[in-house]
Symmetry: C2
Subunit: 660 residues, 2 copies
């Protein structure tokens, strides 16, 4: 691999194509028609009503003519134990028989829904949702005092935009302790306790806007790494408003135990996605807008951008020695810009590796040899030799390969058998390619490409099972497609995304789409763990509950002030600890509810009509709510979790006495 | 059918069993163990770790010994085109091949999640969610001015507890116009426009607490009927707090076009579920607590309760003639209590039909002959001959049959081939039975029972495809099981529910569980429509959008006052109408965003970091947000719906200038 960047196709070609297509889209707008998506070559990809098109059998030739390379679409469903398809080939089973368990947990980010989704693989069934940056009434998240405190600590927003879930690691493997995820909208990071599948901490990262790229440090989760994507004044308090050249994007290192920001590094351009190497030295981030412009045309003007590789121990040392530039909002800020003093010597703390303009994702392969940087506006993936990052004088010499994979490469995943799979947003395909062949081949070569599989449509992230570990499973891959168009029954103008389950084999040409799964807007990424690595609790341990345990005999009303009362209530099938209680109009009520059951899956809820209160109290757990009773009257608290044949009768009469 | 109530098994037996089991549950609580759910005979049903139990092959005998009658569990997955199971029998296909569509829409209530879920059948894939009584950031529901107004009109709560979805009908069939659903928590009814799959109105029903039972009037949706379940003082303003005998439960009739309450009827006891006949005369409600007690033991003291059949045209006539008792909060209240003047003559407006105590659901069969009242605490279903309701002197003579179906019958559904299917909460089974045989048989007979199918576990509602129309499909049935216990990978103390898909055949013994599907808490009911009956729009019609259409050239900032501005912004791939704009610290910003695209599935979102704003703007739609800019600085609005290869660059720089 000796070729330089000039050997790869001109990324401007892609941008020009975008611009032409934008014009054709605008032409559409003049007369929106019902068949508006049938004949337009859209910016979003090849949209010749592909679903019908495939059925004509003319697809492969026509699509190749349009610039794509088309894999076969096998039009079959998955069977419980594998079914024979028309051609006699075996379609892999993906359904799971009634009562049987999935093999893998999938943790899906929920994008601007703010939640995490837990999906079983291979069945693709959504097992539960974990509210994180949103408020969510089914689980009482944002209603009980515990979750309200978590949300308030995180800045008291009602929504977030989570992108990149990451599992805690010990010794390079998932330890099942925590899941972490970023909020792009408000620059936050959340921690989810996998003992209870519950968000237990949210950090509002100081000094950054839009934490986008996010990962944990391998192999032992000593840090969480977050990229502040948007360049803003620093601090963003009204200074430098019209001086974009002084704006900054920061890389942040967070302590996962204390959930505090340990240090930040200022860089050139906008940081994007990030991954950790496998040894705890390098955090490698993609980046764009080296131009430091504030418009799209300015951001895509130049032909080069720079991946940033952060030498974490070196930066740590600087911080320990107090060799940072300044503290802002209590966080040491190290200058990692290109010409800064820490970057000028022979041992720069941040290596700037040139890539074609506006690369998107960086993923580190399972054995830790290479980082894969998808080109987005370039049809290539740039491979960085991680061992060379600290050795070469010219960072460009760390580039180990640059295969031409197709149009709009965004993300790469791995099967652990020497293959990489790259999503192609514009081509609406997944390209499977040979990693070592790509190192041997010339830059821009298509030789390493083994197979392409059409997906429907416009994939963002793709993830193979346990691809982020050192030992991927290699059987399944999920393509998180951003558009579903006509793949599902229509549900109005906001379509679901389409998560396609793809079986990946070990040979040269074995990708097969097994199922389409609609996804509520808008998952960005997912991460998988074998079921044996996750061990949640079925009831709460009293030691973990920071609230009084209220038994039936403890139940009662205690007046705590002239206008405040403490209502204590036990819950069991099918009764609350009090069948009625009285408070005074104007009282602030602190209500403490304990579910005294020890039996798994017997949850009790507490709804208070006309008081906007809903608690979910799992066995042995206690939740509290605080509210004011403003209107005299009778209000029937009732259980919201259907708990027994007498569930409907499970309630308590709250009498609010008039104040005078 | 000449037997009276005394022939049926004593419902007190069931209650006594409940009480014994409650005690054993409490014993568990002393020492919660990890295997706490393996050996306890719970109130919630037969919980002998049934999943493992079934595998031993010893299930049938043991379970029968415990009081249930057990059907066979066939342990297979569904195949794309049907697969051969071990015994050589054909397992029906329920997966849908990639790119193919489901045959039916299912609209699921979301319980205390506040949302509606749209699920495709037979694949059981969740196609989308419709936020209704909750706030939800992915679709910007509760964030944009349009949805905020809908929520504020409905009382400005942040959550609700929706139970019973109902589709609008014309001529007795679904017309695809609207879906309606109740909120039990705050006594509300919502209307969802199926052109856009969007909630467009919420009514806070006056004078009631907890609208539980809910349905549309057949055949032409002239009314929505809602049952206020909880008895409260009337009005509930502090009067009569400690006089439960003066509390009331009201039946409400709502105009679906104006979403206003036309009249209400006061009755004895607590109203529960309701259904309409097929001819627009009778609304038939189950009810409990004839004792009018405020405690469980009091509510279940007597052996009898009364189904209420409301003679709608007769009540309408009284209201038209001004013959109601009073108006409260603007709504005419008619006295329908047992001894009231309108009920004393030969033509009572409300018929009180005696049933065993605490019946649960009432469903009217497809041909409109019978209403089926599930016994809950009685192991029977009481069938009412609807034609006789207006004819017989003694309402008890309208009882046409009372088969003994099993323990804890809650809901009944239909296949259109003469069979009823009743969910048995305590037995954890679905009983299939012959409707005409039940009329011919003695009360309490098990002769009409054709088959029982174990479900996992504790079913509430069950619904067969289009069972609520005059022409059910008869192929699939979904059992909405309240507990899932160990049926799925564990996800912490709050388990999913388990919606089981059951294939129902035409013969005597053909129920077969095809798939388990985890459900986020807590669906109560669902309703199905053939795909041809629902025709949503893929883009917005300008005529339906009550906000300015902002083109690219309209984009700009208009100062509307000393501290207020109007920001107008177009959105298309991959640009907002302004790449930057400035406002002043302290300004109230009205922001209007139009998605000018005409292409389906190209949605743009507008996130405003640190301002808690998230809009979802579908093609040709306009949404507005109002917020105040309190802190000077630079804030990058960005697109939240992944729209193109340059989506990441799609943003606009909001500069908030310092006030001085």
């Amino acid at each position: 691999m000796t070729q330089d960047l000039d050997d790869v196709p001109d990324p401007n070609e892609v941008v020009k194509r975008h611009e032409r297509e934008l014009e054709s889209v605008l032409a559409d707008v003049e007369e929106p028609a019902n068949d508006d998506d049938s004949l337009t070559l859209e910016l979003a990809g090849l949209e010749l009503d592909r679903r019908d098109f495939m059925k004509t059998g003319a697809a492969a030739g026509a699509m190749s003519a349009l610039g794509g390379c088309v894999g076969g679409l096998t039009d079959v469903g998955g069977g419980g134990a594998g079914t024979e398809n028309g051609g006699g080939a075996k379609t892999p089973a993906h359904t799971v028989a009634p009562g049987e368990h999935d093999e893998y947990y999938g943790f899906w980010s929920g994008g601007h829904s703010g939640e995490i989704r837990v999906i079983g693989l291979p069945s693709m069934r959504v097992l539960t949702r974990i509210p994180v940056f949103n408020t969510e009434c089914a689980k009482g998240y944002g209603y009980d005092e515990k979750s309200k405190e978590v949300l308030e600590d995180g800045g008291d927003y009602t929504w977030g935009d989570n992108h990149h879930p990451a599992l805690s690691e010990t010794g390079g493997d998932y330890d099942g302790e925590y899941l972490y995820v970023n909020d792009k909208a408000n620059g936050r990071i959340a921690r989810i306790d996998l003992k209870y599948f519950e968000t237990d901490a949210i950090l509002d990262v100081p000094n950054v806007q839009a934490v986008h790229g996010f990962t944990v440090q391998s192999p032992d989760t000593e840090y969480l790494f977050g990229n502040g994507e948007f360049r803003t004044p620093l601090p963003n308090d009204g200074r430098d408003l019209r001086s974009p050249e002084s704006y900054a994007s920061l890389f942040s290192a967070i302590d996962p135990e204390t959930m505090t920001t340990e240090f930040q590094v200022r860089v050139d351009g906008n940081l994007d996605i990030i991954d950790s190497d496998k040894d705890g030295r390098w955090a490698i981030a993609s980046a764009y807008n080296s131009e430091e412009s504030t418009t799209i045309s300015g951001m895509t003007r130049d032909d080069r951008d720079y991946v940033k590789a952060f030498d974490v121990p070196a930066i740590e040392k600087l911080v320990e020695q107090g060799k940072y530039e300044e503290k802002i909002n209590g966080v040491p800020i190290v200058d990692g810009t290109k010409g800064s003093k820490h970057n000028s010597g022979s041992d720069p703390i941040v290596r700037y590796i040139p890539t074609p303009k506006s690369p998107h994702c960086v993923e580190v392969g399972p054995n830790g040899d290479y980082a894969f940087v998808a080109g987005k506006l370039s049809p290539t993936v740039t491979m960085l030799d991680i061992d060379k990052l600290g050795e070469v004088d010219d960072p460009a010499d760390a580039v180990a390969g640059r295969p031409k994979v197709g149009l709009g490469p965004l993300h790469t995943t791995f099967d652990g058998n020497g293959h990489a799979y790259t999503s192609l947003f514009i081509d609406s395909q997944v390209a499977k390619w040979d990693i070592e062949k790509a190192v041997e081949a010339d830059a821009g070569s298509t030789e390493p490409i083994l197979e392409k599989q059409d997906v429907h449509y416009n994939p963002g992230h793709i993830q193979a099972i346990e691809a982020m570990t050192t030992d991927p499973d290699g059987e399944w891959l999920v393509s998180l497609n951003k558009l579903s168009k006509d793949r599902f029954l229509p549900v109005g103008p906001i379509h679901p995304d389409n998560d396609q389950l793809i079986h990946i084999g070990q040979g040269e040409k074995e990708m097969e789409i097994v199922a389409d799964h609609p996804a509520y807007p808008e998952p960005h990424d997912c991460i998988f763990a074998h079921k044996d690595k996750i061990n949640p609790s079925k009831t709460y341990d009293k030691a973990d509950v920071d609230a009084p345990f209220v038994t039936e005999s403890d139940s009662g009303v205690e007046r705590t002030g002239e206008e405040s009362v403490h209502v204590k209530l036990s819950a069991k099938r099918s009764e609350f600890g009090m069948s009625e209680f009285a408070v005074q109009e104007g009282d602030e009520v602190r209500m403490t509810v304990t579910n005294v059951e020890g039996v798994a899956d017997i949850v009790h809820g507490v709804a208070i009509p006309e008081h906007d209160i809903q608690l979910a109290v799992a066995p042995q757990d206690t939740r509290e709510a605080t509210f004011t009773v403003d209107e005299p009257g009778v209000y029937w608290l009732y259980c919201t979790y259907f708990c027994s044949a007498l569930h409907l009768e499970m309630r308590s009469r709250m009498i609010v006495e008039p104040a005078d």
